[in-house]
Symmetry: C2
Amino acid sequence: MVDVAEAAGVSRTTASFVLNGREAGIPAETSQRVMRAAHRLGYHRNASALALATGRTNRFGVVLNDPERFLTRDTYCLNVLAGITAGALSHDRNLVLHSSHYPDWKSLYADILGGGADGTLLVGRSGDDELTHALLEARYPVVCVSYHVDHPRCLSVDCDNEAGAALAVQHLVELGHRRIVMCSGDYRNSWMLERLRGAQRAVQEAGLAPESLVQRDWGPGGWPTVEGMQNLAQFLVGADPRPTAAIIGDEATALLLVEYLPECGIQVPDDLAVVSFNSTEMSVRSRPPMTSVWQPLQEIAAAAVDMLVRHIDGEEPHEKIRRFPARLDIRESSGAVEQKV
Amino acid sequence: MVDVAEAAGVSRTTASFVLNGREAGIPAETSQRVMRAAHRLGYHRNASALALATGRTNRFGVVLNDPERFLTRDTYCLNVLAGITAGALSHDRNLVLHSSHYPDWKSLYADILGGGADGTLLVGRSGDDELTHALLEARYPVVCVSYHVDHPRCLSVDCDNEAGAALAVQHLVELGHRRIVMCSGDYRNSWMLERLRGAQRAVQEAGLAPESLVQRDWGPGGWPTVEGMQNLAQFLVGADPRPTAAIIGDEATALLLVEYLPECGIQVPDDLAVVSFNSTEMSVRSRPPMTSVWQPLQEIAAAAVDMLVRHIDGEEPHEKIRRFPARLDIRESSGAVEQKV
DNA sequence: TTGTATGCGTTATCAC
DNA sequence: GTGATAACGCATACAA
């Protein structure tokens, strides 16, 4: 910048003012000269120096969860990322994407704190996530996407999981199902618990016995895995009475299940109606197309960016957790039980 | 850091040495004291200050192309991103993801130059991309992924598009096809031209007339669009003689085409064999599953990171363009023409 | 209106 | 071995 100032024959301050658009009280002629010099010299402000001087980087971080899924198939991440990049641009911020492959949360923690961002978006982590708690304790600006943790400073954005699960159950009950298995896993995760609550409420409101809802988890870890999916299939094969419907919280796993079940002699939707969550491209392209609880992922992500930016700016949040409505996309995998009956 | 130094009762320099692991010639006792003080005070080095002092941010940027596709469906981006994040972590670098939604390339250009990264990965842009050329002209460190431009300083990583297209043609010719339509679009794009060359070579080597390869483009813009896809379908309906096979460079568009063609009375693969590129999850889940030219996207992306890091470090590259082999994944969409004949 | 001086947190070059 | 001191590039309060 000093070169620009020299070339334009002014002081650094003047150049700084012009370059920042604070041209109040600066002759248009001078301003022009500075601008031309800057352009001629190919000047671009040094982000690090600016960050050091102002204390703000105009960048925020993003931590995407679940490396394995992120690697290949899940369009959940893509949708969230699309919403985040759009939000970043609208706030004129850059985005630091942290790899999901860190060996442990502490190295990620150190990277975030020293990573040169003003705050970070945490996506889809678990309710007892140590990283989230540590960041919150350090008073580092954070917003949780698609989950929340039990901490007084926790800000988050999510869909209305409870209502979404209730929609799924209502749909299945209307189709005549009286025994629904729900694979939720680890109830330390906020969304899993919320979905369970929603399903239980819907069962109750339908006047059914609580036993109509069969709870299963994914096995060790509480996260959906191929083994967990296969275990579920085996359970279904041997179950007596066998559930006639299943609610699978994870879209990718639901897809695998629907492809795997025929090998076990279970047809979808004839023998088992399946409802998943997220309703992204994966559900549309599933065979058969999958009934799924849709949530506005891009809106959620963009809202999270808004919330984070406000938080960074020191604004008091209107609400600790912002909810977006869910919707049921009915497709073939939930079937028409009436025909069967 | 000055606080840490004070708390430990040493000078800034000593603290800096300890914190950077350059503990040569520093008493273990002093070192311990510094480390403990740092931990107690929750010290984390300021990335901006470090960047300003060293002239390196340890960050590199990524520009993903094609916002619309990125938004929703294409797993190409996911795979590339997975490779990049893995590469970033292995080099202990952070990654700045630039939104794909910039209003124009100049604002992106300014953002990259001022964005506080040491270099940037450009993914899948076109051969006459102004951004690439501008960055190259400014001597800003850049590596192109999945394309390259005609510039003496251009470094890039791509698959062997020519061989890949040749594989596709050979496969189709072996199945008996003698009239193959290839939808490539804008030949300013390196990979499109390479694929055309490969296809032409394979046609020639098979002893067929050049006319056996029918060239079509996607219409205005040269990029695959829904309209372009529908135009292609209409062309196929009216063509006489009608091609019996098609090579579609874009996986997502191939998917749409395969779903759309039956509405036009064309069955895949019976009336038309279809081969696409990339062979990601999309091709696997297509109906029918799609024969596709696979490329090691994650390896390519990781190699691009390597190349960029070396470039940033000032190393002379061994090769200006690094190629990875392609492979043909044969699935149902290319069909078994023998049965038809 | 424009120039001067100082600080941001760290590294690096020196003396001590 | 350790401690001052000068950059790094920019913003800003203050003086002129």
